[in-house]
């Protein structure tokens, strides 16, 4: 039997060792982050010196003349992400709501299926997009929807709509899994009580379940958003990779991540610096989204009287 008193190392020492081990594990995260920022800034500097602020608002992309602008890639990233979220959020929300209340024989396999979908590597989605979704879009979807304004008469299967759709499928399982777990954490006593005072299922879901898990819901959406903003391979396959501003949903364009993936191995000199600058822009965009999200969350929590589960 172990005797606490005769233990050769005092509990205080163990505590201290544990504390420093934990710190040693946590500090590199910060160092890594700072290191990334410094390296990106360092390498991006020549591009910013050459093009200045114009880099962010220029639409030129001419490697022969050495002129580069980031706006098409930035706009493309925002467009594809917006399409993906617009499709994925309602879909995951309703799926998650259903899964919480679904009978076990249906809910359990569906739940596992969603977890499995989240584990599929992005390149598989990209290949599926290229070989299945693109011909399908070109032959069946786009000819029927091209008359709608901003869809675009000029289609070939590739483009923002296809990329957004793939991204939506990719992030849906993530958002859905998190939402489902959040909804499950709502105490059943609370839900039963709400049902007890005569609320419908919709009222329970919208006024109680959703509010109870607001922070978790937003967290899920931001995990999805992060994946959609930074996704490279799947988008690279289907977006068409041209440096033009998005004009129509069926048109082609590019995103920051896919521009980096397509060009990094070959780039040198100013081109390389331009790619680093794009990388920095992407990082700052992600930061910006996180900051706005946190701020909004605090604001929303305050407004609802500090009730956030």
């Amino acid at each position: 039997m172990r005797n606490r008193r005769k233990h050769p190392i005092s509990p205080e020492t163990i505590d201290r060792v544990f504390k420093y081990t934990a710190i040693a594990g946590a500090i590199p995260v910060l160092l890594l982050m700072v290191g990334f920022l410094i390296q990106l800034c360092w390498n991006a500097w020549p591009a910013f010196r050459e093009f200045g602020f114009n880099f962010l608002i220029s639409v030129k992309w001419d490697p022969v003349a050495g002129e580069y602008g980031a706006l098409p890639a930035i706009a493309g990233t925002i467009t594809t992400t917006a399409i993906a979220l617009a499709i994925a959020i309602p879909l995951s929300f309703t799926t998650a709501l259903f899964l919480v209340d679904a009978p076990g024989w249906l809910g359990t396999p569906l739940s596992h299926a969603i977890d499995l979908l989240a584990a599929i590597p992005s390149i598989i989605y990209g290949m599926w997009g290229l070989f299945v979704l693109i011909p399908f879009m070109q032959l069946y979807i786009q000819p029927r929807l091209a008359w709608i304004p901003f869809m675009g008469e000029d289609y070939n299967g590739f483009g923002f709509a296809t990329s957004g759709l793939i991204l939506a499928l990719m992030i849906m399982p993530f958002i859905c899994a998190i939402m489902r777990d959040v909804f499950r954490m709502v105490p059943s006593v609370l839900r039963e009580a709400v049902h007890g005072i005569g609320a419908t299922r919709w009222e329970t879901a919208f006024d109680v379940t959703m509010r109870y898990g607001k922070r978790g819901l937003l967290g899920g959406i931001f995990v999805g958003l992060g994946r959609a903003v930074g996704e490279t391979m799947a988008v690279l396959f289907v977006i068409g990779n041209i440096h033009e501003l998005p004009r129509t949903l069926f048109g082609s364009g590019t995103t920051i991540a896919s521009t980096l993936a397509a060009n990094f191995a070959e780039a040198e000199g100013m081109f390389r610096s331009v790619l680093f600058a794009l990388g920095l822009v992407l990082l700052l965009m992600s930061f910006g989204v996180q900051i706005v999200a946190q701020w909004w969350l605090i604001y929303a929590v305050k407004k609802s009287g500090g009730y956030n589960g």
């Binding site: 001419d62 070989f131 490279t232 070959e266």
Partner: protein, 342 residues
Amino acid sequence: MKKMMAMLMACGLCAGVAKAHGQGNTINGAGASFPAPVYRVWTYLYSEKSNIRVNYQSLGSGAGINQIKSGTVAFGGSDNPLEKSELDKHGLIQFPMLMGGVVLAINVPGISSNQLKLDQETLSKIFLGEITNWNDRSIARLNSGLNLPDLKITVVSRADSSGTTYIFTNYLSKISKVWAEKIGAGPAVNWPVGIRGQKNPGVCNNIKKIRGAIGYTEYTYAIESKLSTVVLRNLDGNFVSPTIESFKAAGANSDWRNAPGFRMILTEQPGADSWPITGLTYLLIHREQKDSALAKSLLDYIKWCFEHGAQSAIKLHYVPMPENVIKMVYDELDKVRYEGKK
């Protein structure tokens, strides 16, 4: 974050390559994807015969040049030949390994391989975006027997920077003044129209998936993807199909003696049977080698390729270099030194 991971992994990969480099019986090379199918066969056959392993990473010409300059590989492959001054600056030797053709591949229902004919003006106008439909009068005029559909033309080009693009845009600049002035030639250019695919296979996939697509790719990739190729009019005014013979004809009249660093661009060459978009692919090695064992294996491998590689190259639709050029390359290889000695 995913991008960062990719970058970290890329760094890890580079470190791995550098480490393997020091081991002597492994030769690492990287570069052009244009000749990669042949290099893959060569490295395999050579590794079977000797105890030396050769790795070739098909990363693209630009990457090949970058990596040989920084010394992370023993040889670099490039389709975009360097100027003599740049070679001297980095202490490099450059020589041609193979000739191959860049072809136009199309996906137009009802038209099979080598049926569609295009001349210089029509082709350049398609890539400039001035001709936008397959039933355009200028295409119909050249193809009276064909039933050209009313179908939008989608131009497919390379998303990454590439030696194949360099060869093709060099050709477009030669055949079209407008192209030369507005766009120019380079491994990556500002394409006026169309969409882009990643590397040769990506371009072929995109052409295959889009009805009405036309794009340029290395010949082998077009054949492997079973895409229809286009017949082009050459400088002499004849319509030629892309074949080994027409690629070979393009290189027949070249003046190698007056090409420093073997720098030669075989687009729009004279000759009745010359294929107009023929390219050379080069190897780059350091004149001063750091490791005598490695240098010996490297030269042995290169010479083996010239002496025993022709058969497998032809099988993959590439043209081996003619005898007189190989002799000149051997003279060049004699200049490789290790600490001042041979």
